[in-house]
């Protein structure tokens, strides 16, 4: 552990946070846990895949919400039976989970293999195109998306009570966070960072650069698929509009709010987004200054702008600077 980590006690703080989140259902209201926090964990998990690809692979992907949506639609098609919209395959819920994950991962393999040939702005644009195509596929092929979406989706019995979904979100978030962090030190993770820094040099060292990018995209797609499953269980429905260009950009904005270069920022950004989304309308006098629900995205835009002006690294960038200053003060240190 380096000096900075020791000073800020980062691992200890994270362990404390997880413990707090485990105890949260007995401390907070059911609404806060089951609505605000569950949604935060789901969106944070999905946004973490954007951060993972960006930070470790140098790839800013706008296709993560598509992976999220594919998993949700596939589960809906496979798990529902007669009378519901979609394919109505009527499979066992866990078989439907497997089906959704396999289809999402296969889609990530194909899309990742194509996108891995591009970098920078071209990668961003290509993944945006994926998102747009995905939206139209689900919007126009109503056999797999239902007219106006797939509704009445039930979660597996194991996740019956809402608080269990919260814990499932927490478990997957912790696993994804720890997994992505641990991956950084592995041969694959180091190679991915090498690809980010200099793909030509990596190739000269014997690495298959497009394959590395593809594998990273598949891993991110798999995790985004898990988030998509949680989302469809939490929401009970999914429709093509939920994976259109607007929500696609919102997921990117969540990652930017938290800080696109830090994994924890994904969940922090999601928390801020959900807080604003949930409580903004309840603030006193807010409607008198013209902030109505219809102008919610404008408010989010102003918040993003303010954060970017204060710190391009998002909220985690601001948060990281605070404790170090405090410690310097405590130690009586000054800048030369």
């Amino acid at each position: 552990m380096n000096l900075r980590a020791r000073l800020t006690g980062e691992p200890l703080a994270l362990a404390g946070l997880v413990l707090f989140l485990i105890l949260l259902p007995s401390l907070a209201t059911a609404f806060f846990v089951n609505f605000v926090m569950t949604q935060t964990l789901i969106l944070g998990l999905a946004a973490a895949t954007i951060v993972f690809l960006s930070r470790y692979g140098g790839m800013t992907s706008l296709a993560q919400l598509l992976m999220f949506g594919i998993a949700g639609f596939m589960f809906g098609n496979a798990a529902l039976d007669g009378g519901a919209r979609g394919l109505n395959l009527g499979w066992h819920p866990w078989a439907a989970v497997g089906f959704a994950i396999v289809v999402t991962t296969l889609a990530a393999v194909v899309l990742g293999a194509i996108a891995s040939r591009t970098t920078g702005i071209y990668f961003l644009m290509l993944t945006l195109v994926y998102g747009v195509i995905g939206y139209f596929v689900f919007a126009q092929i109503v056999e797999i998306s239902g007219p106006g979406g797939i509704t009445s989706i039930q979660r597996p019995d194991l996740l019956g009570p809402p608080v269990r979904l919260y814990y499932a979100g927490l478990l997957l978030s912790v696993l994804a966070y720890v997994g992505f962090r641990a991956l950084r030190r592995t041969a694959f993770g180091l190679a991915l960072q090498g690809v980010r820094d200099d793909p030509v040099r990596m190739a000269s060292l014997g690495f298959n650069v497009p394959l590395h990018r593809t594998l990273a995209f598949v891993l991110a797609g798999f995790v985004a698929g898990l988030a998509g499953l949680l989302n469809v269980w939490w929401n009970g429905q999914i429709d093509p509009a939920s994976i259109s260009i607007g929500p696609t950009l919102i997921l990117l904005i969540i990652a930017v709010i938290g800080g696109i270069s830090s994994l924890e920022g994904a969940w922090l950004g999601a928390f801020v987004y959900v807080l604003v989304f949930t409580y903004l309308r309840d603030l006193p006098l807010v409607d008198r200054i013209g902030i109505t629900e219809a102008r919610f995205n404008t408010v989010i835009g102003v918040i993003v702008l303010a954060i970017m002006v204060l710190s391009p690294e998002g909220l985690t960038g601001i948060a990281r600077r605070l404790p170090v200053r405090t410690i310097r003060k405590e130690l009586g240190g000054t800048r030369a």
């Binding site: 991956l183 694959f188 190679a191 200099d198 030509v200 060292l205 298959n208």
Partner: protein, 248 residues
């Protein structure tokens, strides 16, 4: 002695610009060859063709008996080839140890492991030994992006020698180094095993002529002459194209 690298009639055209014009070159195993020439002579393009970073427009590249003309650069380490670049290309966001580790991992095919094993730790230790050889042991845990220019060059060299290559291509390794650092570089290059084939582009004639057994002079994408360092040094034509003056 058998050739480890055979270049035949290699031409490289970038649109209307012909960077290489029918270059032929044979490099024997264990040979120390310097390629010199003025800027724009095609030296780095020749390196890029040998290393697989660019494919020649026409001609063939054979390395250790295998036709590599159209094979991408990632196949070269398997043939025992390593290179450095004119502009140091270390991975800025990784530490010195991690940079050298990646060179080792690339050579040994440990590309996609999702967990760390004792082999990784051994490679980390090996990386430390290699860093020591290029006087970077004090910077092992520093980010490559924070190193001074000369140290980045040393790191490039470390990444090349880490894989114990049979053929090493060094593109201006002495560029930007202080006099003392150049001396250490020459000592290091002279310490390499006799079986190592060394191909060197270098503008510092003192370094090039001390290391090389044979010198190839290039100009305008063509090989102008080849000979021992003494022959090249005495050649009036080389003086004219390189320095714009006749030999004294």
């Amino acid at each position: 002695m058998a050739s480890v690298v055979e270049i035949r009639e290699v031409t490289v055209a970038f649109g209307g610009l012909r960077a290489l014009r029918g270059v032929d070159l044979d490099i024997a195993q264990g040979e120390r060859l310097a390629v010199i020439g003025p800027n724009g002579a095609g030296k780095t393009t020749l390196f890029n063709v040998i290393a697989g970073d660019i494919a020649p427009t026409t001609g063939t590249v054979v390395i250790r008996g295998q036709d590599c003309t159209r094979r991408p650069s990632r196949h070269r380490p398997r043939l025992g080839l390593a290179r450095t670049y004119q502009k140091a290309r270390a991975f800025a966001g990784l530490t010195v140890r991690e940079n050298i580790y990646l060179a080792l991992a690339g050579h040994r095919g440990r590309h996609r492991a999702l967990w760390r094993t004792p082999a990784d730790r051994a490679m980390g230790d090996e990386a430390a030994d290699v860093a020591d050889r290029v006087w970077l042991s004090g910077q092992l845990d520093e980010l490559a992006g924070e190193l001074a220019h000369g140290q980045r060059r040393q790191l490039e060299l470390a990444m090349a020698i880490a894989t114990r290559p049979d053929v090493m291509l060094l593109d201006e390794p002495a560029s930007g180094l202080s006099r003392g650092e150049r001396e250490r570089l020459v000592e290091l290059l002279e310490s390499f095993d006799d079986r190592l084939t060394l191909l060197l582009i270098e503008h510092d004639m003192d370094v090039a002529f001390r290391i090389a057994q044979r010198v190839v002079v290039m100009a305008d994408g063509e090989q102008v002459m080849a000979g021992t360092p003494d022959e090249v040094r005495a050649d009036p034509h080389v003086h004219r194209i390189y320095l714009g003056t006749e030999a004294a």
